[in-house]
């Protein structure tokens, strides 16, 4: 399956993490997670509901901007995606800036709903294609949302995994540490060590991230490419040559 593009590998890998869920929401500016959710939906025979923010067709909300958050707080969303300008080894995420707040040297757009959804949605998948020690740092400069919380804080949700352009990490809430789950084809553990600013665990032998089978790939390139093109035409054109 050497002709599998990196984006397709990520879509398939993330889709596998969503199997069996009832409702997955995807924030704005998230074409790969969005395509992954649509792929899982396609394979679920309609059992999975997807709310793709920014899409007219694939969102069912009718109560304004607050509905996503109310829905999450009521436990009606099983999985969501967050990124971060910085992500550290305890899964703290920084969407605000680098340097001393408020006059940060580098400024990111802002925390959006992370300081809420990260607490309330059971399976939050951290997704950031750029895997460098600039992004994956020992300690974030600003905690938009913490990876874990003290026992008395109401927190049914939190980090499930971290997916990058090089690998997949699982997160252990008890240990507050990431464990390397798999390395994408063409990348190595050594390379990941060098490009990750935080310490992490790993098994004796690290498997390769599985590439999607022919059927999955056909589904991604066909129906999913068409569906995601409504919201992300540029992405769909670039990856699937479909717009």
């Amino acid at each position: 399956m050497s002709d599998c593009k990196p984006e397709e590998l990520l879509i398939a890998a993330i889709a596998d993490m969503l199997t069996g869920l009832r409702h997955v929401a995807v924030g704005n500016s998230s074409p790969i997670p969005g395509a992954a959710a649509l792929l899982t939906r396609a394979r679920s025979k309609g059992e999975l509901r997807v709310s793709l923010l920014g899409s007219r067709k694939h969102t069912a909300f009718t109560d304004g901007g607050k509905e996503l958050f109310d829905c999450a707080a009521e436990g009606r969303i099983d999985a969501f995606f967050l990124g971060g300008g910085q992500i550290d080894g305890e899964a703290n995420i920084n969407l605000v800036g680098i340097g001393e707040y408020p006059q940060t040297k580098v400024r990111f757009p802002g925390s959006f709903g992370s300081a809420y959804l990260y607490y309330l949605i059971p399976r939050v998948i951290l997704f950031r294609e750029e895997h460098t020690d600039r992004v994956l740092v020992p300690k974030v400069d600003f905690i938009s949302a913490p990876g874990t919380s003290p026992a008395n804080v109401y927190r049914p949700g939190g980090p499930h995994a971290l997916v990058t352009g090089r690998c997949i990490f699982d997160f252990d809430k008890q240990a507050k540490r990431f464990t390397l789950r798999s390395v994408h084809p063409g990348h190595s553990v050594q390379e990941i060590r060098e490009n990750t600013g935080f310490d992490f665990d790993m098994p004796a032998s690290v498997p390769e991230t599985p590439t999607p089978d022919a059927e999955t790939l056909a589904l991604i390139r066909g129906r999913i490419g068409e569906e995601i093109a409504e919201t992300y035409p540029a992405f769909a054109a670039r990856v699937f040559a479909a717009a």
């Binding site: 707080a73 959006f112 709903g113 905690i143």
Partner: protein, 273 residues
């Protein structure tokens, strides 16, 4: 009474310096024509509330020196990445930042809508946002044990400003599923609206339409503004002018470029209006 015969400049004139002004994100109906008029009239010391984030509106007002305080969950120009004038102002420390999170902004507006002083909220604890927000408080759940909460004070904007597809002569404004605009209108002391068209029929007369309509009860004034959201889009009507926004993004990366943009597209003889 709601006035529906206002001009864009009149709306801008009725939004005073120092006003706390609630603005929607780029996808939810932006009264861009009024934003340009605010810059033309040299508005000062605005306190922007992004509901829950802002895009081009915020970046332009910040760049033009109209903003003292920015309360928002984010400033974003979508796919293009970061808003250049906002980034510059943040680095310079030239505006006061009240970094928030989307549900807290919605909750604060809902508290204002309900006339209650605050709304308790989950999440947020352990976020550095809380460390920097002197206006937020920690609280306990009086119905539970050792169950900390965050208490978000009501956000009562002086002004809500947005653009819709349709309004009628009574000031009723159709917003469809964009209920955050209704929340803004309910929460704000005054609501100014621009509309693609002002129609003669009563938008509340038919229940199917009424279900997506803000009653004129909450509306201070409406002005007609064809392509009033340009260069951002208006859902169901027109797409964003991607080429123009890309041009803005390039120009706004430098002080000079931004000034040229203002000269060409804001101060120039109402090219856009």
């Amino acid at each position: 009474m709601v006035f529906t015969s206002h001009e864009i400049e009149q709306i801008a004139a009725r939004i005073p310096d120092g006003a706390k002004i609630a603005l929607p994100p780029d996808y939810s109906g932006c009264a861009m024509a009024v934003i340009r008029a605010l810059i033309r009239r040299g508005a000062k010391n605005l306190h922007i509330v992004g509901v829950p984030s802002v895009g081009l509106q915020g970046d332009m007002l910040i760049g033009a020196g109209c903003v003292a305080t920015l309360e928002t969950a984010a400033v974003t120009m979508g796919e293009l990445g970061i808003a250049p004038r906002f980034i510059n102002a943040a680095k310079q420390g030239s505006i006061k930042l009240l970094d928030g999170t989307c549900p807290a902004i919605h909750a604060g507006l809902q508290a204002a809508e309900k006339g209650i002083p605050y709304m308790p909220l989950r999440g947020i604890l352990g976020s550095d946002l809380l460390e920097h927000r002197d206006d937020w408080k920690r609280g306990e759940n009086p119905f539970g044990e050792d169950d900390p909460l965050v208490l978000i004070p009501a956000i009562k904007p002086d002004v809500a400003l947005f653009h819709v597809a349709k309004a009628d002569r009574k000031g009723n404004a159709w917003i469809g599923v964009r209920r955050e605009l209704m929340l803004m209108a309910h929460a704000a002391k005054q609501t100014f609206i621009t509309a693609e068209e002002i129609v003669e029929e009563d938008l509340l007369a038919d229940e199917i339409v009424a279900a997506g309509t803000i009653p004129g009860l909450y509306v201070t004034a409406v002005a007609e503004a064809k392509q009033g959201a340009w260069p951002v889009g208006l859902g169901g009507r027109y797409a964003p002018d991607a080429a123009h926004i890309a041009q803005y993004y390039e120009q706004a990366r430098s002080d000079d470029g931004f000034q040229r943009y203002l000269a060409d597209h804001v101060y120039a003889p109402k090219a856009a209006e």
